[in-house]
Symmetry: C2
Subunit: 288 residues, 2 copies
Amino acid sequence: MEVITEVDQMVEWVRECRAPRVLVPTMGALHEGHLSLCRAARDRAGEAGVVVATIFVNPTQFGPNEDLDAYPRQLAADLAACEAVGVDVVFAPQAGDVYASDASVSISEATLALGLCGGSRPGHFDGVCTVVAKLFNLTQPVAAVFGEKDYQQLAVIRRMVRDLNFPIEIVPGPTVREADGLAMSSRNAYLTPSQRQAAPGIQQAMVALREEIAAGKYEDSPSTAVEALEGRLEQVAGSESRVDYVALVHPDTLQPLESFWEDGELRYRLIVAVFVGKTRLIDNIGAN
Amino acid sequence: MEVITEVDQMVEWVRECRAPRVLVPTMGALHEGHLSLCRAARDRAGEAGVVVATIFVNPTQFGPNEDLDAYPRQLAADLAACEAVGVDVVFAPQAGDVYASDASVSISEATLALGLCGGSRPGHFDGVCTVVAKLFNLTQPVAAVFGEKDYQQLAVIRRMVRDLNFPIEIVPGPTVREADGLAMSSRNAYLTPSQRQAAPGIQQAMVALREEIAAGKYEDSPSTAVEALEGRLEQVAGSESRVDYVALVHPDTLQPLESFWEDGELRYRLIVAVFVGKTRLIDNIGAN
């Protein structure tokens, strides 16, 4: 496995590389969720292709009061994990090399990025789009793998690929969970033991709501279901939990749901963000 | 010469193309200025490479009260002209094929694009950046040629290429002028005969100012020189002329000039936009 730490080196490597590349962009602190994306990339690349994982904690997607400085960094462990799952190249640049000090170009998505995490984190998806476009141009992959855990991000990236005509296939990877159901996240490391114990309650409440919706408890009133879940999530870690948002949205448009049903089938995405202490956790599930 | 009119067809063509491509993005209504860019692309591509010219009147770079509908269209003549200068492929898509009806992604440049034409035409350079990024992704060139006539556009595109890490060399092409000095522009076709006769006065006044600056007439006061030129350009076509802006700027940063001199040499760009009747003409020259 090759490790590239400089932008110029990456450009040079890509220029020489004849094999099709499959990209897995990450912010490092890799867990089983990331590794499942690397395995999906390995499958997609096949024997002829190469898997490029990037490890870069992108400053432009963090707000001024967010956890950029605290975000976990563990490059040595990440490299070992990448090698073990068949990554061919890791690109792990420094922020000052990725962004010029007078950088002035950014990419915005004006529809899908507005609500949900985009509402809570102004500018977040501009930073995501911009860095992903940069990584696309630096690595020129035929495909790139993004986790469904960041459901809105996946939708925004798909839209960017469509609207800017990037010749890149976007491959989604399903959310990987701990044995107790908590969605894997690098931010889980921030949780105290008691918070960690309470956190699986988020997914349990979501799954319970899904079952209630299927059983007709909320008839066809998504807003009633949202309110019910908000109430439960506020309690999930006692006084330590605070709901950032709960949303039942159309899985493609991310617009608020008016009906649970489409063409005779249950069809929606349930997306939540909940603070447990100071840690903001996100999760989402589909109707089925 | 191949003519491609559909986005999917262009994607397919690029996928099959093994030769390095050099791109010349245009809005059609080709004149000698465009053709000089095509020749520069032909030189840059060499025998092994192919020249791709695009002809697309991009709606997103026109303001609501601008000349999108009136902009001259002459595809048959443009294709003949392209063929004559050695273009290999013309990509001439329809707007509805280039932009999805719910397109929501755009690219902004926040420094170089603010003043000058960006000040007079809000959103113009967002539209330019977005369509150029799309054309870059659709054609994946090794190099792209842009005219110096649109000096600010050239600077903004260079910045976008740098900040988004497009692996594309930007090749500038010098402004081509009519025998009487008027900068070639598709918009010159809007001028009445008397306006056309007066229009070369723009460049004459610019060149005269440059000579005065070199002779020390304005000592080291760019603002005084700007005022002098504004006065002359207001008169260039009698009551039919109106200055949009006159700017003496640093050639790289496009920031207002504080001194004509840098490292012992005259160094600036003089950039103007002047309405002659309803037609907005732009031009620019350097210190030498």
